[in-house]
Amino acid sequence: MAVRTEPAVPTWREGRVTGWLTTVDHKRIGILYIVSAFFFFFAAGLMAVLMRAQLSQAGNEIVTEDSYNQLITIHGTAMIFLFVVPILAGFGNYLVPLMIGARDMAFPRLNAASYWLFLLGGLVILSSFLADGGAANSGWTAYTPLSTDEFSPGTGQDLWILGLHLTSLSSLAGAINFIVTIHNMRTPGMTWMRIPLFVWAIEAFSVLLVLVLPTISAAVTLLLLDRQVGTDFFAVENGGPVLWQHMFWFFGHPEVYIMVLPAMGMLSEVIPVFSRKPIFGYKAIAFSTIGIAFASMLVWAHHMFTIGLPDYLQAWFMITSFSVAVPTAIKIFNWLATLWRGHLWFRAPLLFCLGFIALFTMGGLSGIMLATYPVDYQAHDSYYVVAHFHYVLFGGTVFGIFAGTYYWFPKMTGRMYDERLALTHFWLMFIGFNAAFLPQHMLGLMGMQRRIYTYDRGGLFEWYNLVSSLGSFLMALAILVFVWNMAKSWRSGTRVGNDPWGADTLEWYATSPPAPHNFDRVPYVSSSRPVRDLRQRLRENGS
């Protein structure tokens, strides 16, 4: 039989650079997402270091009052819209098809479009510092009337709106892609009670995005119309200031869980592998994910306890906010039970997971304090809140993201990271984080308001601020160690096989890095731990 052979002539699409620019492969798109998101993380982190430098002593003049407000706005916006959400989407992109035994996402081209929209949005937001009048300076919450054309006349606010539109569109398309993929492309045998818990988390993440992103898109569209066309959607006489807060937080609070749930999903993958045990309470964790997602849409006005809501609404939103704590506690207890009687293997991924549990517990409990609305009368809009959400989003989510990064790094690159640098990264970050944010609880209760660029109090107040600033510098150092580790290991780390960790889920069945088509044949799955099943079978056949 004659076989027609053609020389493999690489087209322009397969070049080293163009291959990445034109890719529709979910794994390459995932890596693009992750690398770009880390870039924005470093940029936004640098802004945080500048802010902490400004606040390290009373009456510093490192940045001006106007630049400071631009920094807080873009720091928050970038961390949320350009780092946490996209990097989680990046991990989802890379992992979901592999974990469910699919070849790619349901809509590969839409997937690529999502990435490029995100990158464009990110560049718009970052470059808005160059705009006439500088970047937006009304905070990431962009409360009206402050963000209207009357009080924020510069173009920075309009660019902020454009950036949000682009990233929201990106997230929305990505979320729909995830939902379609998870619902339709699971490999045979991959029932809903067998999909990895990370996939459950991405499902909840996507459903929440689809439900709440349209609200923020609508809100910023109306704000844009008010600013540019002269409409009156957020006019004072129409109750605009409070309307904006409702629209913003109806999106803004679920956004917190959008950012936390996939990181929790990462913990549910990493902890069992490094404990050498199955996850404790798979169903409880899966259902608590759904429970958190549902409850998160009922709590938004706990950000608005001081705007003068009637008593019955204060009570209602306090109780709904409390209700989120129950499924969250269930997750913490199940992770602890997974550790129980395990053989804990202290590699960086597990350490970051333990850091997550330790710090997120703190953030969760200070959340209970804040949801107690009389306490919120004191703590609201103070540094107590800043400390709280950094314990949740940095101590929680970002530690989870680092756990995931170290855990899946060998899969993505085919190489092992440097463990000693990773442990250095962890301890610098853990110590730096607590030094930076623990004193902020006290500062808040002593009366330090959020978003102030200066203060004139000395004594303990100034000492706390100094400790906090030094902690943030330590975190910056930790990040440098991380970057060095990633850059070095990606080039010259030790090569690894398919499954360096002895893990359970399907992505470890593929090669490291996986082939473009992921699997040579369609995997069949008969439990939630297919790769462990395979190891067992090999061991039985071998003996």
């Binding site: 300076n137 404790f280 053989h343 549990i357 209970i368 209760l445 308001q449 102030i452 002895g502």
Partner: protein
């Protein structure tokens, strides 16, 4: 113990030690608890908030210690021993329904208890109960970037509010521009000042003294320097202080004092104490300062013209005529600010 274990334990101790630094600092400063609790004991409602704070804090602290202790215990107890092979599995336990039910119900019950206690104590926090027949009502306006207080008979005070000790007070908060939030932590919790609506904050100052506060809601570039002082004084002194504010609408010392306060809070924060310019441009000796029509337009509309460099907030919204007049009289009386004779006119 393996080397790695030692490293882990030492690092954990170091982390705990570092975390203890702020706590030790806090203990060294007993005056205001070093931020371990809200400061507000200056009124019964502030005290009620503090009680709730300690109640919830106590419960959270117990949960926190239990969870963290369990975590540390498990980490030490179940670490992989050097003799254990890497692939050795722990017991293959997939879950326990009874445990799941227990640790669902316990947090739920704790939260219900907290909610009930909070709702029972809510009237004390809001200070709605008791005899409030002699209540003092003060209007509080947040402006970019100062606080304007109006007493029942129309007397105006800027940035400094004087209140009588032991008398119920109702603050009616509003704004003419962006959102602000009135917060004097030593007295009680904060409440937002929002344009287009009036929020109420009730409190009864219970000891004399001077209490510092500020704006808690981002309101623009000078958000950080929008302080306010509440001076709580005896009923007799309060009467004197209020009387001294009388006659702001007639020529005299009282008018000049209002004009000076208006200059210092509404103009000088941006344009400098001598009007020589700071964040805002120099305005000393500008004709607009003494031209009533032009000045009124400027302070109620602000400056937000793309053709003119910079932005000026509408600092004078809600001013009665006599406050504008007081400002003009003060400028005229101040040699550094007054424009040359005959120099009246627009900018």
């Amino acid at each position: 113990m393996g080397r790695r274990t030692v490293v882990v334990i030492v690092a954990a101790l170091a982390a705990l030690g570092l975390a203890a630094v702020p706590i030790l600092l806090a203990l060294a400063a007993p005056a205001d608890l070093g931020g371990l609790a809200p400061a507000g004991d200056g009124s019964p409602s502030g005290e009620a908030i503090n009680e709730l704070y300690w109640f919830v804090f106590g419960i959270c602290a117990v949960v926190f210690v239990l969870v963290e202790a369990t975590l540390v215990l498990f980490v030490l107890r179940f670490r992989r021993r050097p003799e254990t092979a890497a692939e050795t599995e722990g017991p293959q336990i997939h879950g326990n329904t009874r445990l799941e039910i227990i640790w669902t119900i316990i947090p739920a019950v704790i939260l219900v208890v907290i909610a009930v206690v909070v709702l029972v104590r809510s009237p004390a926090v809001e200070a709605t109960g008791g005899d409030r027949s002699d209540e003092l009502v003060v209007r509080v306006e947040g402006h970019q970037f100062y606080w304007r207080y109006v007493y029942p008979d129309g007397e105006i005070a800027l940035d400094t509010l004087v209140l009588p000790v032991g008398r119920p007070v109702r603050l009616e908060l509003t704004s003419y521009d962006v959102n602000h939030s009135w917060w004097v932590p030593d007295l009680t919790g904060k409440r937002d000042a929002i344009a287009g609506q009036v929020n109420e904050l009730r409190l009864t100052p219970r000891r004399e003294g001077s209490f510092e506060g500020g704006c808690a809601e981002l309101c623009g570039i000078l958000h950080a320097v929008m302080p306010t002082t509440v001076e709580v004084v005896s009923e007799a002194e309060f009467g004197d202080r209020l009387e001294a504010l009388g006659g702001q609408d007639q020529s005299g010392d009282s008018q000049l004092a209002l004009g000076e306060a208006t200059w210092e809070t509404s103009c000088a924060k941006c344009h400098g104490p001598e009007g020589a310019g700071d964040i805002g441009p120099p305005i000393a000796r500008l004709g607009t300062l003494v031209n009533e029509e032009a000045l009124r337009e400027l302070v109620t509309e602000g400056l937000n013209n793309p053709d003119v460099e910079g932005y000026m907030p509408p600092v004078g919204r809600g001013w009665p005529d006599f406050q504008l007049q007081a400002l003009i009289e003060y400028v005229r009386s101040n040699e550094a600010l007054a424009p040359p004779e005959g120099g009246g006119g627009g900018r």
